[in-house]
């Protein structure tokens, strides 16, 4: 009885992490993502927001990288490094909140559509089909145009435009899970529908959702930058990668670093999330278990 403590607790998620750790690209993606999150959290300790990212000093505008400003200065003489560091905050925050919003709404809508089927399914999916018919960025532009360009509106707009893909994926997943015997078994012990959905169906449908979260984060961040680039996202002077790109495009010939560094930041961030997402997909795929 007492010497039995050796049998290790091996959960499904433990196995997934182990498989993920074997995938080098995914680990690289994961490290970059974690690094970005740390940078976003510690942005105020790395460089001062007011003095370096907002304060304009025209005397030193459009300078290339120097020892004082390691990534140079922009068209108003603001430190590029500070602006990129603080810009990560907006991108990650909006991307995260929008994705979470989409995930929660998608979970609720997709799982009820898949579980109950019939008329509920019809109603939910047809409404989502209408949303699906409009390209994501266009829908976001419309919503931002209608509700204004605050950070909150941007989150809601991007979140809502990501809901259909989450719910579609979850619905198909739920439909395969709900026909399994343990769902019938759960019903046979007297569990309520809501209980079955939350404790049996959703945890078993979650793996593609996790992959989707990672991929969606990337596309949301790209959307924020796109919206800011055309002036519908974050309004200046708040540092944001997309609006930095947009501001720098006038000086592309003689100060290419103003567009290059924010562009690199966007690229690396999206690459990292996509690498992580790909790795998660492989790690969560039961067919690849070895």
């Amino acid at each position: 009885m007492e010497a039995k403590k050796t049998n290790k607790k091996r959960s499904m998620w433990g196995d997934v992490l182990k498989r993920l750790a074997k995938n080098r690209m995914a680990v690289l993606g994961g490290i970059i993502v974690v690094g970005l999150i740390l940078v976003a959290i510690c942005a105020d300790f790395i460089c001062d927001y007011q003095a370096e990212a907002i304060f304009q000093n025209v005397k030193i505008r459009l300078q290339g990288p120097t020892s004082e400003h390691i990534l140079g200065t922009d068209e108003f003489g603001r430190d590029m490094f500070a602006r990129i560091v603080h810009g990560s905050r907006i991108s990650l925050l909006v991307g995260f909140v929008a994705t979470m919003l989409a995930m929660v709404l998608g979970l609720i809508l997709g799982s009820s559509a898949g579980y109950f089927g019939g008329k509920t399914d019809m109603l939910i999916m047809r409404i989502l089909d209408v949303f699906m018919a409009i390209p994501q960025l266009l829908l976001a532009i419309t919503l931002v145009a209608a509700f204004g360009t605050s950070v909150g509106c941007l989150m809601i707009a991007l979140g809502i435009s990501s809901v259909p893909s989450f719910s579609r994926m979850l619905r198909s997943q739920v439909i395969t899970v709900k026909d399994q015997e343990f769902i019938e078994a759960a019903r046979a012990i007297g569990a309520k529908d809501s209980h079955i959905i939350t404790t049996h169906i959703i945890p078993n449908s979650l793996s593609p959702v996790i992959v989707q979260v990672s991929m969606r984060m990337a596309s949301c961040i790209l959307s924020i930058s796109s919206l800011s680039f055309i002036g519908l996202g974050i309004s200046p002077p708040t540092p944001e990668w997309g609006s930095m790109l947009s501001g720098g495009r006038m000086y592309l010939r003689d100060a290419e670093h103003i567009t290059m560094y924010p562009g690199l930041a966007i690229m690396i961030t999206i690459l990292a999330f996509n690498l992580l997402g790909d790795g998660l997909r492989d790690a969560l795929d039961p067919k690849l278990k070895r």
Binding site: M1, K4, N7, K9, R10, S11, M12, Q180, E181, F182, E184, A185, A186, R187, A188, I189, G190, A191, K192, H195, T199, H200, P203, N204
Partner: protein, 333 residues
């Protein structure tokens, strides 16, 4: 009369209404089961055993399944008239079910302890979380698994152990009726014997009435008090073990016994019942077994036999017995 039986099913008819036609899965079944008794429900694949069992829990998938008529009284409650809320209280608490395949009837992402605790928590709303886990550990010990393994996941258990966990879940709330739907079909023979022995012990320990659904007559002989033989959605013969095994009356039952390998004469060829079960979307007008029956007469093709009482416990549905001198050739010959 009402409270004489724990389970009283009367003339239950269940159809599956699909686009291709109406599948007559269960055609007028009567089952009476007293408390603490075990009934073996025997029949070949697709004869409506599982549908019958699901109707007791009112879990026949709808659509396409429809309970057309009949009455099911379980522990004094009319199952057909109960509300969904009442049904949820009955399921798992008064009656619970063991499913065929232990590999798929456990949720892969929950620990086995949590899954046992789940039933306990559903039916004892005011019980604390720790107490439900404690109960889960007790149940694991009861089915012969060390209690501390409750933090493990189903994939860490073997097939036989998973089936033990399923049994623990089914018995966690000490139900009055346990429905076991081919509980050993997915297991290999040595494990089958262990699981059956465990079920027998637990049955006497918890005084649970059981409906054992199986197609294995050996299991019936070992575990059951009464037997009902089903064919194409109807009961063709029912009685206690002695009646059905030693005084076999229905030709189909005889055919089942004949299909068993003969232990004394191993070289003997198996004698399967010729033909196939009739298509349940178009059952023959007369006796459903007539096309395969060696005793069938013209009358069998047009007239449906009723279940006739031949002794206090023994019933059979066969027209041949209208001739008082009729006897089966006897099995094993």
């Amino acid at each position: 009369m009402e409270n004489k039986y724990l389970l009283d099913m009367k003339d239950v008819v269940i159809h599956y209404e699909t686009d291709e036609g109406i599948v007559e899965a269960v055609n007028g079944i009567d089952i009476q089961l007293a408390e603490g008794k075990t009934l073996g429900l025997v029949g070949e694949t697709g004869c409506g055993k599982t549908t019958t069992a699901l109707s007791i829990l009112r879990l026949v998938p709808d659509p396409p399944g429809k309970v057309k008529s009949g009455k099911i009284i379980l522990d004094g409650v009319d199952i057909m008239a109960a509300s969904e809320k009442e049904m949820r209280e009955i399921r798992g608490n008064v009656v619970s079910m063991i499913f065929q395949d232990p590999m798929t009837s456990l949720n892969p992402v929950l620990t086995v302890g949590d899954q046992i605790a789940e039933v306990v928590a559903i039916h004892n709303k005011d019980m604390k979380k720790e107490d439900t886990i404690k109960r889960a550990m007790e149940m694991l010990e009861v089915v012969g698994i060390p209690g501390e393994r409750h933090t493990e996941y189903p994939h860490q258990f073997s097939g036989g152990m998973k089936q033990r966990v399923v049994i623990a879940i089914a018995l966690a709330c000490s139900p009055k009726l346990l429905i076991a739907d081919e509980p050993t079909t997915a297991l290999d023979v040595t494990i089958q014997a262990q699981v059956l022995e465990l079920m027998n012990n637990l049955k006497s320990q918890f005084k649970t009435a059981t409906i054992m659904i199986t197609h294995d007559l050996g299991i019936v002989a070992e575990t059951c008090d009464e037997v009902a033989i089903m064919y194409a959605g109807s009961i063709v013969e029912k009685g206690n073990l002695e009646d059905v095994f030693n005084n076999t009356m229905h030709p189909y039952t005889e055919g089942l016994f004949n299909s068993l390998p003969d232990v004394e004469n191993r070289a003997a060829k198996l004698k399967p019942i010729p033909g196939l079960m009739p298509d349940p979307t178009k059952l023959p007008k007369g006796c459903a077994f007539a096309p395969r029956c060696q005793y069938a007469t013209e009358q069998c093709k047009t007239e449906k036999p009723a279940l006739v009482k031949y002794s206090d416990t023994h019933y059979a549905a066969c027209l041949a017995y209208q001739d008082k001198n009729f006897k089966l050739k006897g099995w094993g010959k």
